[in-house]
């Protein structure tokens, strides 16, 4: 196994150009998949026999929740790599991932409570998954707040990376403690979606998951390019890049 790709990714101009070249390869399939998932989820999939058409919120709610988690993972792992190998490119990845993840954590909360209203009769019912999502959102806010509080970029990178790594260890603990807490206070307000889904419902969901994932990579690539450009303003390759 060669590590050259790893070292090459650490080089800002290579990263900038690769991210630029990859963006359309993620963006267009993502657009197609999301449109297909929309048609499948809103039109082709039959209504749920318990929840009626309200369950269709899952096609945006669940992929958003997945993105918010995935982006946290990207942030934590990139932060860890940046701390251990002092790799600046990794910090740029972490910095780019945070706002994307935070925005989808917020989407998850909003769509979750919009789903909750018809199901539970209330917008907020301390469902364990939504509750942990709320803490995930707060962690994102803390991460971005910490990053913004430093004037020195290097210090911001490294300090927020420590927080991201600590969060990476803590998020599962928070989640399971919330689940445990919820099981004690029997509200019976858990989502009723633990039954096996029929393929007509499941396939659009899978398509949406894939579409959202590719989309997030595309947006990450775009943000990453901006981040790299801002960090490397004085470098010669940037001069050549913008002059061209």
């Amino acid at each position: 196994m060669t590590w050259t790709w790893f070292h090459r990714l650490a080089s800002p101009p290579y990263l900038y150009r690769t991210a630029g070249r990859l963006t359309p390869w993620f963006a267009w399939p993502a657009a197609l998949l999301i449109v297909a998932g929309l048609i499948g989820g809103l039109w082709l999939a039959p209504p749920d026999f318990q929840q009626g058409d309200a369950y269709r919120i899952i096609y945006v709610h669940a992929p958003s929740a997945w993105l918010s988690l995935m982006m946290y993972g990207v942030m934590g792992i990139a932060g860890g790599i940046g701390l251990i190998w002092r790799m600046k490119a990794a910090h740029a990845v972490a910095a780019s991932a945070a706002p994307i993840g935070a925005s989808f954590a917020l989407v998850t909360l909003v769509t979750g409570s919009l789903w909750g209203k018809p199901m539970w009769g209330t917008y907020w019912a301390w469902d364990p998954r939504l509750t942990s999502e709320l803490f995930l959102f707060l962690l994102y806010l803390g991460y971005m707040g910490l990053r913004a509080a430093f004037e020195d970029l290097q210090r911001a990178d490294r300090a927020s990376a420590v927080l991201a790594v600590v969060g990476l260890v803590d998020v599962p603990i928070v989640h399971y403690s919330v689940v445990w807490w919820n099981s004690l206070h029997q509200g019976a307000l858990v989502f009723t979606g633990r039954r096996a889904m029929p393929p007509s419902m499941l396939i659009p969901l899978m398509v949406m998951f894939l579409g959202f994932t590719l989309y997030s990579v595309a947006v990450l690539c775009m943000r990453l390019r901006a981040e790299v450009l801002n960090r490397e303003r004085t470098a010669r390759w940037v001069r050549e890049e913008v002059a061209a």
Binding site: R86, E151, D152, L153, Q154, R233
Partner: protein
């Protein structure tokens, strides 16, 4: 190779968008004092902080006794003393208590040793007063006592004479001379010339970044 030498090799340091240290190279051996000169903002403090391992240079390395200090920072730290702009003292504690904790984590000291050192820096009368009641010059003298008590070969001093009267400045000069005469090394950042003999002094002028 174990001779007491300190070498800096093409040290580059960036602070944000500023390229503060541009390939600084130096070498000091026992009995020598490297004097860093240059205008404000030329990187004297940055260089001292990089040498003692607080700042991480983008490129270049620091060698102590021929080995890269990054390979074993604790061992390097055990042999060096760094004094920054401000004396590192707790205001609520007395001079004696400050030394007991500050130096105490490094080595055990006898009471006589501490007394002797405090006397050396002219602090026998106020060593049991809380530091916040001391003048700036007296605080600086407590820091000098700490420097002596660390009993290490390498001194890194950032403006060691700040706030000191002429007597105090002479004291710093004498202490440095003795340190060098005993085979010690020093790197000092200075604005005003130190009151000491020129023997062993090696200037290093840092330019503007």
């Amino acid at each position: 190779m174990s001779e007491a030498t300190l070498e800096g090799e093409k040290i580059h340091l960036w602070r944000g968008e500023r390229h503060v240290l541009r390939g600084v190279t130096f070498r000091v051996t026992g009995g020598e004092c490297l004097q860093l000169t240059g205008p404000n903002g030329s990187g004297k403090t940055s260089l001292l902080r990089t040498v003692c391992g607080l700042s991480y240079p983008e490129a270049g390395a620091i060698h102590w006794r021929g080995k890269d200090v990054r390979r074993d920072l604790p061992a390097f730290h055990a042999e060096m003393a760094y004094l920054g702009h401000e004396p590192p003292l707790k205001m609520e504690l007395t001079a004696r208590e400050n030394l007991a904790y500050w130096i105490g984590v490094r080595r055990r000291m006898t009471r006589a040793e501490v007394d002797q050192t405090l006397e050396r820096v002219g602090g026998e009368r106020w060593s049991d007063r809380p530091v916040h009641t001391l003048s700036a010059g007296q605080k600086r003298r407590v820091a000098l006592a700490g420097l002596l008590l660390m009993n290490v070969p390498l001194w890194l001093l950032d403006e060691p004479t700040t706030n000191l009267d002429v007597d105090g400045q002479r004291l710093v000069g004498t202490l440095l001379e003795e340190h060098l005469a005993g085979g010690g090394l020093a790197v000092t950042a200075v604005h005003h010339a130190l009151l000491m003999s020129e023997r062993g002094l090696r200037p290093l002028e840092l330019g503007f970044a």
